[in-house]
Symmetry: D3
Subunit: 323 residues, 6 copies
C-alpha cells in the first residue's frame, strides 16, 4: 500500500462542493414518517449461548416498509439498571454473524444492538438473516446500484431507514436507557452511522469509522475498488444515466447527512485507504455540523485503526456520557 | 490459458450422477401452468433505427408472475411470409443492448427475438431494460444466490420461466411462423436454451453454446471464477446450507433439463474454458435425450467458437429446417 | 477502473507541443506516390454466405509495396445505385474475421469495406488473412517496434499506406460512390482513420473512436499497458535509442495527421481509458484542422461508447452526407 | 476458490509416510528439560481496561532459553473458584494484540491465556510485544526458514517450547485449575496446539483449527502460498540443502506430534484451503493417537469455520470437561 | 510456486508419443544444404572493452538465407593454442547484450561464441543487433507463430539454421579448435542447443538447460505462460489450424532432434518450472539417442540451477574433453 | 511500467527536508569505534574454481560485533602489483552466490571484494553464507523492521558497519592497493555504498546504482512495493510507533550519509523505478557533498542501466583513478 489520495495537510483543507438536492429534508422526512407510521414490532428472544458472561437476545424490528430486520442485543450478564446503548452497523457484505461474535461494547458495559444488513451477509463472516424483499431494475451485481434509477427505489433508502428504525427499536428494548443511544460502525457501517447522525437528532454520540457512502462523485473518480466501483461499472454501461445516478446518490451522501448532525462525533480515516479514500471522509468530516474529532491512521489501508480504534471509541463515548 | 479440466477422451466418457429431485416435473409443471395462466401481454412497437436493412421491434411480454420482459424482434427488411424464429438468450451480466446490436440471425433470414435478462444488463455492453421486481434473502452480490434458499424463490425460476414464455410470445409476433421456433444462446444464454429445450416440447432446435448452469456440484468444486464462484462464496459463509443449496440448484440443472429434451440440439464446448468447464457441459450433453451433436474448441477459453460457431449454428439450423 | 489521466476540464485545455519532423509531408508524399505507382490490383469475389440480407465480397488490393491486402466488402442486398462507403480499420491484434462478422454499416445503407491488418489478427476474434512480408531488426513482441529504428522501415508506414490505399481501392469497387468515402475505426482502427484523414484530402468524414497512435511521448510516460507499453519496453532495453524512436514515431503521430485533415471528424474518448489515455486523444483532437466534434464517456475504459457510439457515428455521417 | 487438493473421500483414506527422526523424543525431551530447568518467572499484572466484564492480566513467563514471553490472561469478572483454562496460540504474523481483543473463551467461562508469538505480530492486527532474541543464518524473509539449517537452531524449536511453557505457566496463574488445561489455535496456532498435544501429556483437550506445520514435504509440493512457500523459496536458492531442510522439519511436523498425543482432540480442515491444504491436516489427523474428531468445511478457504468453529469448540470442550 | 507437472518418479517413466514427420530428415537436410551453399562470411572485429582479462570480438556470420547474424567471441586474454569452444544460445526475448556481459565460459578457458537471436533482444538485458529480415502471415505478437502456417516459413527454421551455422562459423574463428565444439543454452537457448545436437553430428557435447521447444502438444495443453501460450492463443483464433500448426511444429520439436543426437549431453530440468514444464523436457531427455545425464532442481521455477548449473556444466564439459 | 514519480525536471529541482538526528555523527562514531576496536580477523582462502582466468579467495572478516562476514575476493589471474579495489554490496535478498558469479570488476583489472549480506541471500541467486546472529523484537517478515524500535538494535546498523569494515578488510588483502578503494552496489548495495561514502572518508570513489535506503518518509508514502513496504506494513500494525520508526531510520538515511561524503560519486536512477523511486535517489544525490554525476534511465524500472551502467562505472572509475 502507498498513499494515493491527498496528504494530511490537503485533507485538512479539503472542502468540496457536494451536490445537495433541494428536497433532501422533504425526502427523508417523508420516508421516516412513513416508516414510523408502521408498528415497530420489536421482539427480543433470549438466545441460548455458551457465552455465559453475556445475555444475548435475538431481536426483530420493523424496518423500511415494515420489513422484519434482525439484530443481536448483547448485555453484560446481570447488568443493573438501564444501560447506555450502542447501535452498531456492519460493513459491506457482512451479516450479524452468530450470536456473540461481537462482544466489545457489551464487555465495556453498554447495551449493544448489532443490526443485520438487509440482503447482505454472504460475503464474509458467518452470515446474516435479513432479506431485502424488494426487487429492482437492471443493476450491477451487488447493492450499490440496486434501484439507483430513483431515490425512492434505491437500496440505501431502505437500509438507512432500517438504521434509523434500529435506534427507535433499541429504546424499546429491556435494559436500555432510551436517553443514551449512540451509533457506531465501520465502512458501510460508518456510512450508516453518519446517516443516522443526520436523521436522528437525539443521539448522544456518533462514531463513524472509515465511513463509506460519502462524496460519491469523487469516490467514483478516484477509487477503482468495489463497492464504489460498482457505481462506475453501472455508469460505464448506462452511459446516459450519469445525471440521474448522481442525483439519486445525493440523497444518500454522508456529506449531506453530516450537515444536519447534532450529536458529538468521533470519526476515523486511514490515509492509505483504497476502499474509502480519506478525502471522501474528510469531505463529510468538515461538513459535520456538531462537535467532532477524527483519528487518522497514516499508514493503514481500509482496516484503519482496527481494535485500537474500538478502544478509543469506548473511551470517547464514556467521556461524552460522563459530562 | 491451459487445459485444467478433463481431456477430450475423458469428456467423451464422462457420465456423472447428478442430483435430480423427485418432483422436478411437478415443480416445473406448476410453475409454467401458473405463468401461462396470466395474459401474455405481448406488445411489439416498431423502432426507428438507422439500420434500414432490418425491421426492429421493441417487444414486451409477460414473464414470470406477469412481470414485463423486454426483447428486440429483428426481421429482415420486407421479409415475405412467416419466418422461422430464433429466440436468443444472453450471457450473464449482459442486457439486450440497443436495437440492432445483434444482426446475424435476422441477416440469415430468421425472425430473431433477443430476450432481455431480468435485473441484469449492467456488466457489459450497452445495458438492458428489464427489472427483477422480486426481493430475496441474504445473498452474495450477483444473481446466482438470489433466493437460493428455496426453489420457489430462486432467481432462475423466474428467468427460466421468462425464457419459456419468450417462446410462447414469439409465436404471437408478426412475421413469425409459430411452427418453427428454435432457441439459442451462449453461456447463461446457453443454459437458458437448454432449460427451454427441456421444458418446451415443440421446438425445432436448440443451440446451447458453452452453456452455463449445468452440473453445479462439479462446477463449484473445480471452478474458481464467477459466476459459479458466487455459489462457492455463499456456501463458504452459509456453512450449514450445503444440502439446501444443492437441492435448490437441482431444479435448475441443465443435466436434468437435457434428459427431457425432444428437439435436435447442437452444443459447443471449449476445452480450456475457465468459466463453464467442459465437463459440466458434457455432463449435460451426454444426458441430452434427443438427436445431438457438439462442436469442441480445444484451445479456447469461454469465448469458444465465437462468430465461427454462429455461422455453424446458422448452417445447422438451416439443415434441420430443410429436412 | 478509476480516472488516472486528466479531468474533462483539463482535457479541454490540453494543447501540448508534439514533435513534428520537417520532412513529414515529403516523407508521406514520397511514400504514397510510390505506393500509388504500383497497380492497385483490386479484386472482389462474391462470398457464399448464409447472411442473405447482404452481398459480401472478398476483396484484395495492393497495399504498401504492392503487398496483397484483404478486406470484406459488405453491401445491403440489392442496393440500388452507388452507395456512400465507409472504410473501417481494426483494433490492435484483430483481423477481418469471417465474412459478415460486422454488419452495422451495411445495415445502415453503406458500402462497408473492412480492411484486414497486415500481420495481425491472431489475438482476438476469428483471425485475418493478410501477412506482413517484411522483416525487421530486433523488436519487442508485437507490432509497435517492428522496424522502429527508421521511419522508412517502421511497420506503421506499411499499415498506414495500406489504409490509404484502401480508400483508393474502395472507389474502384462495384456499388460504391467514389465521391462519398468516409473512414472509421476504434483504437488502432481510430489511429488509422486519423492518419488517413491527414493523408487523403477528399474524404467526406472521419470517425476516430478512442484512437490509438497519438502523442506517443505522453502515452509512453503515463500508460503501462500494451500496446503503448511495447515501446516503453523497447526503450528500457535499447537505452540509447530514445531520440531515434521518438523521431521515427513523429512521422506516425495522430497529432501531426490531424493538423493536415480536411474532412469533418467525429472523435470519441473515454475518460478512464487505460489503453489510449484521453489526453493523447485530446492532443490530436485539438490539433484537428477541420470541423470536428467529440463524444466523451466519463466512466468508461477502452470500450468507450461501444454500440452506442456506432449508432451516433451512423447518425453523424448521415447528417454530414445530407448537407 | 475451488478445490485443488484431495476430495473428502480421498482425505479420509490418506495415510502417507512422513519422515520421523530416530531421536525425535530425545530431541524434545532434552529441549523441554532444559527449558524447564530455568525458573518459570511467571508474572501477571492486572490491566486497566474499559472492558469491565472481564479481568485481564498482562502475563510474562520464561519461554525457550528463559526468554520473556508475553500473554494476556482473561477471566470472566468475579469468577468463583479455579476455572478450566484454554491456552490459545496465534496464526502466523499476528500478535497478542491489545488486551481484550479476544473475549470468546473467557465469555464462555474459561480462563483464557492468549500467548504472544516471539518475533511475530507485525503483519495483521494491532501487534505483539515479544521479541525473538536469537539470530540466524541466511533465511528467506519470514520465520519459516530462520535457523532451518539445524533442528537446534530452528525458530520453531523456540516457539514450540514457548507453547509448552505456556501450559506450565497457566497452571501457576490465579484463578486457574491446573488439572484442566486445554490448548487451541488456528493455522500456526493450530500447529502449535498440535505440537503441545504431542509434548504435554496431561492436557484435557486439544483443538487444532486448520493447523499449519504438518506434513511439510507435501505442503511444499502442492502449496504455492506463504508461509509454506517460504520453505520452497529457500530450497530454490539453497539447492543442495533439501535433505537437511526436511530433516530439520521432521522434528517439528504435526504428524509426528500427533502420534504421541494423549488428550482428546477436535480438529478442523477446510477443503478449499490454499494456505494449509487439507491433505496435510488429514495426514496429522489420521496419525493422532488419542480420541479425535474433525469438522470439515467443504467450500472454505483458510478461514475455515470461523466463529462457527469457535462455538463448536466451546461446546466440545464443555462436553469433554463434563464427562 | 508449487509443483504443477509430474512428480520426479512420473517424469522418469514418461515416454510419450510425439509427432514426427516422415520427411523430417529431408526437410533439415535440404535446409542446411541450402544454407551451407552460401558463403559463411565470417568476420571478427576486435572490440575495445575495458574488460582487459579477455579478448572480445564482434563476430558476424551468414545465417539462414545468408542473413547476417551477430555474436560475441570471448577468449581468455592471451590464450595459447586453439581452445575448445562453446557456442551459447540465448533465452527467449534476450539479445547478445553488450560485449563482455557473459564471461563464465571464457573465464573457464573456453572460446565462447554468444550468438544473437534474430529479431529478438528487446525484452530483457541490453539488447541485440540481429534482425529477422523475413515477413510472415498473421501471427500473435512474439516469435512462436511467425510463419507457423508452413515449416518452410516458420521462424524457428531460420533461427535453428543460424544456430547450426554458428557451429560452422566458430570453427573458422581465430583461437578455436574446430574439433572441439560444444553447444549450450538455457530455455530457448537450450532448445536451440538440442536442435543443433540433432543436426550437427560432430559436437563434443550438448548442454540444454531447462530447454524450451520440446513436446509442443503437451506444453500447449498444460502451460499457460508465454512463450508456449503464444501458440495456444494462435490456435484459439485460428480454430481450424490445429493440424497444420502441430504439423509445422513437429519439424522443430526437441524430441525429434534428440532422437538424432550423437554427442554426450547434460540436461537440466526444474520440477516447478511454469514456463518449460519438466515433462516436456523429460520427453526429449528420454529420446536422446546418445550418452546423457540430467540435473533436476526440485523446488525451482524456470531459473533452474542458475549459476550452480553453469559450474556443473563447466565441470562436465571439462570431464568430457578430458576423456 | 509507466512513470509514477516526478518528471526529470522536477527531480532536478527536488530538495526536500529530511530528518537528521542531532547525534548522527556521535552515533556512527561510537558504532564504528566499537567495531574497529575488535580484531579484524581477515582471512582469505584460495578457492578451487574452474574459472581459471581469475584467482578467487573465500574471505572472512569481523563485521559488527566481530561477527564473521563472508566475501569473495576476485583478482585477475597473475595480476602484477597492488590493484585498485572495488568493494561491492548486494541487492536486497541476495547473497554472495557461488565463487565467480560476478566477474566484471576483476575482468576490468580491479581487485573485487563482493561482500555477503548478513542473514540475507535466500531470495534469489544461489545463496549466501553469512548469518545475522542477533535477534529482534516483533517485526514484519524481512529485514527492514528488524530491531527498528531503536537505532542501536536496528539491522542496518549491523549491516552498514559490516560494509564499512569491508573497506577496512580489503586494505589488508593480498594484491590490493589500500590507497585506492572504491565502493559500488545496486539497490540495497547502492544504499550501502552511499552509507560507506558518508562514513569512510578516504575512498577514491562511490558508485551507488539505483540506491535504496534513501528518504524513507517519501519512499513509504509513495512506494507500495517491498522492501520499503515492509516499513509501511509495520507502521500499519504498530500504529503508535510512527515517530520512533522514522527517528530510527534517520540514522540510516542515504540523504544524511550523502551530506558527509568526500569521494567523487557516480549515481544512477531509473525514472520508472517502482522499487526505489527516483525522487528518493535525487534527494540523496542533491545532498551529496562531493563531486558527483548521475546517469538517468528514463524508461526503466528498477533494473536501471543494467550491464550498460556497469560499463559506465568501470570507465568512470578508470577516469577518476587516472587523474
Amino acid at each position: 500500500m502507498a498513499r494515493t489520495d491527498m496528504t494530511l495537510d490537503e485533507l485538512r483543507n479539503y472542502r468540496p462542493q457536494v451536490l445537495e438536492p433541494d428536497d433532501f429534508d422533504q425526502f427523508w422526512g417523508d420516508t421516516l414518517t412513513e416508516a414510523r407510521s408502521l408498528p415497530s414490532d420489536v421482539k427480543a428472544e433470549r438466545v441460548d449461548s455458551p457465552l455465559t458472561s453475556f445475555d444475548i437476545f435475538d431481536v426483530t424490528f420493523a424496518g423500511f416498509a415494515g420489513d422484519p430486520v434482525k439484530a443481536w442485543l448483547t448485555l453484560p450478564k446481570g447488568a443493573e439498571g438501564p444501560l447506555p446503548a450502542v447501535v452498531e452497523y456492519i460493513g459491506y457484505g457482512g451479516g450479524r454473524d452468530l450470536p456473540g461474535a461481537q462482544l466489545h461494547w457489551a464487555a465495556a458495559g453498554f447495551a449493544h444492538l448489532f443490526m443485520d444488513t438487509r440482503g447482505q451477509g454472504s460475503n464474509w463472516g458467518t452470515g446474516g438473516a435479513t432479506g431485502d424483499p424488494h426487487g429492482s431494475g437492471p443493476q450491477t451485481p451487488g447493492f450499490m446500484t440496486r434501484g439507483i434509477e430513483d431515490p425512492q427505489t434505491y437500496y440505501y433508502r431502505r437500509l438507512m431507514t432500517d438504521a434509523v428504525r434500529a435506534t427507535d427499536a433499541v429504546r424499546e428494548l429491556p435494559g436500555v436507557d432510551p436517553e443514551r443511544v449512540a451509533v457506531n460502525g465501520g465502512s458501510q457501517g460508518g456510512g450508516l452511522a453518519l446517516a443516522v447522525a443526520g436523521l436522528v437528532p437525539e443521539l448522544v454520540g456518533a462514531m463513524p469509522d472509515v465511513p463509506f457512502l460519502c462524496h460519491y462523485r469523487r469516490a467514483v473518480d478516484i477509487c477503482d475498488r468495489d463497492p464504489y466501483a460498482e457505481i462506475t461499472r453501472y455508469l460505464s454501461i448506462h452511459r446516459g444515466a450519469v445525471e440521474t445516478v448522481f442525483s439519486t446518490l445525493s440523497y444518500f451522501d454522508g456529506v449531506n447527512f453530516a450537515k444536519r448532525a447534532e450529536a458529538p462525533a468521533f470519526f476515523s480515516a486511514a490515509l492509505m485507504d483504497q476502499v474509502c479514500p480519506p478525502s471522501t471522509i474528510f469531505a463529510a468530516y468538515h461538513s459535520y455540523a456538531a462537535e467532532k474529532s477524527i483519528a487518522t491512521y497514516d499508514f493503514n489501508d481500509h482496516e484503519g485503526g482496527a481494535f485500537q480504534q474500538r478502544l478509543r471509541q469506548i473511551s470517547w463515548l464514556k467521556d461524552v456520557l460522563a459530562r
